[in-house]
Symmetry: C2
């Protein structure tokens, strides 16, 4: 553990369903509760293990209260005082700011790092180095994000535009840009001035709260009031009263962008391989590790095939037999089966939308 | 009922698994026990209904003893005395010859007609007309087959070569030819001298037995001995002793071909549409009735798709979601799932073979 770590607390906001990963990922069992890498652990467990060498067990998880049991099962070393349960989803600002406020009350001056529960990082050592540098930079009253070097002109991610260098590898951030169109994304990648925004933020908790106070004073006030009562008997009453009133807004808009405009954000470039595994095509490519014509299997399926390629995801234990299919996606669950191809993986989201509209909410 | 029908008995040999229709069709639930047309009835029930106007309830079913319960359930009007149960499969000669021998003992001079349990006939009236003419021709001591006019140079069927005309539409049969290669099949179709052999045979029971006596005397003797005891207390003893010893041979080789060589076979051309529904591609085409880009659904699946085409067969009631797939075949059963394309439908048979070899007999 580096010398910076004593003052560091990791926060894992574990929200979002991942509807592009339906029917595996559901409201009741979202993406982060699944093993999507074949590691034998879920994405949440991988995230915990990734943060453990940096934060020790000083890791707070913020998740929906319907996931409490699953999260406790998957993270047996998570302290109960570090599990923040949301009665309903109120977007990332409420989740992260509440964690910041609770932790800053418990340990004034704490630096927190927020890391999504459902991403994949392939080089642990390089990840630790990046976070260590980010913590270092965060001491100087900046919000520090870890930027991912784009490997392609993706339209699935937001971008971070870097400014001048401020340390060995960190730069200031000029602006955050929402998901661009493909032409713009190509220009960004060619310019080498942009990173993908992977939603990793490291900062003093009080800096986050200070910026929020200016941009969203009511939301700030609500979060502070909940945090004041958190480690007391009145937690439930205050939470039940205030939480449903909090503004739903992503932390990118409430904190990161305004801070960037004030020159208060820095970016540390990631030297590690990072994956969002946002759809089954991405999982398939991650599994195949760049090899073409591979058939990957995640889960308990027994598989029989000739020369089919793509990915099979199953939690039913049934035999799955494939003949002559290229880049196929088969997702086999107890009550729903999805068959498509890698080419159409992004369309799963709109299929889920039509399920919702046609009243099949029991399958969502 | 025509005047010929009084002396007529229909026989349905209900055997064969139909392994190209795995995982729907299994040893324990073969093809004929399934609804493969979406008629709301199984192929066996459709066959029964097709024969009813011709034979009344004078219909005998020969099937494996493991299917006794399913057949009784599906055919509530089948008389128990007309259900012949095989302790083990001994090919079509044993099955049909035993039926012929039992029926000829009960009703000497009976004309029997043998019709597969798992074929599809689309024009009932034309079917009845063809069988009526076949019965008429069969009075003149010929084995009469109903020939299907080829619609394409199929290599999936045997062929019948016709000779000279002997009645309004019947001709003599010069020879039966096993499944040809594609070049030969093309010549056959162009020549207009050939029919597909759909395995429909109409003849006096005693003529069938007489030919069998000459070609397979031991098999003949065994069948006669079983038939003698059939309607007595010793049936089980005799069956258990003799049945397992009977030669396994298709009736095409033991009776039809030798009879053709003796000029004793006639063919009545079918004017009806006939389908073997031998694989899922055939079922899909039958369902789509020649329309391209259709998605057919057989069974209890709830289906959600954009513009996929092909066929979904399901007995699980699960939701099946397809995105962007052309000519896909999805067969969804409780313990096994098949995904392939129409182009590869014939390969299901070799997949089943590899299942057998890899010891997954519980799935066969």
């Amino acid at each position: 553990m580096s010398s910076n770590s004593a003052n560091f607390y990791a926060v894992i906001p574990a929200g979002g369903i991942g509807s592009r990963l339906w029917p595996l990922s559901r409201a009741a069992a979202p993406k982060f509760l699944h093993d999507l890498t074949g590691s034998g652990q879920t994405l949440l467990q991988d995230t915990w293990d990734r943060l453990l060498p940096i934060a020790g067990e000083k890791i707070m998880v913020v998740t929906g209260d319907i996931h409490a049991e699953a999260v406790r099962d998957q993270l047996p070393h998570l302290q109960n005082s570090n599990l923040v349960l949301e009665p309903s989803p109120r977007d990332s600002t409420a989740a992260i700011a509440l964690a910041a406020a609770i932790l800053n009350k418990r340990q004034p001056g704490v630096i927190i790092g927020s890391f999504a529960a459902d991403h994949v990082v392939l080089d642990q050592k390089k990840f630790e180095e990046a976070v260590a540098e980010a913590i270092e930079v965060a001491q100087g009253d900046r919000i520090v994000t870890i930027g991912i070097k784009p490997t392609e002109p993706s339209v699935a991610f937001g971008y971070i535009r870097k400014g001048e260098r401020i340390s060995t590898s960190a730069c200031t951030v000029l602006e955050f840009i929402e998901k661009p169109d493909i032409q713009t994304a190509r220009k960004y990648v060619e310019s080498e001035e942009y990173f993908w925004n992977a939603g990793m933020f490291i900062a003093k908790a009080e800096l986050i709260l200070e910026i929020l106070k200016a941009t969203q004073p009511t939301l700030y006030k609500g979060v502070i009031e909940i945090a004041e009562s958190w480690d007391s008997d009145s937690r439930k009453n205050v939470m039940d009263r205030i939480w449903p009133t909090l503004t739903k807004i992503a932390i990118d808009y409430s904190v990161a962008e305004p801070a960037a405009q004030q020159g208060k954000v820095a970016v540390v470039p990631a030297q590690f391989e990072w994956h969002d595994v946002g759809d089954f095509a991405a999982i398939s490519e991650l599994q195949a590790q760049g090899q073409r014509g591979q058939l990957s299997v995640l889960g308990s399926a027994r598989v029989l095939t000739d020369s089919s390629s793509g990915i099979i995801v199953s939690d039913t234990g049934r035999l799955v037999a494939l003949i002559g299919l290229e880049d196929v996606i088969v997702v086999d669950t107890a009550d729903a089966l999805l068959v498509t191809s890698k080419q159409h993986a992004q369309k799963v989201k709109s299929l889920v939308e039509s399920l919702r509209q046609s009243g099949h909410s029991e399958l969502l």
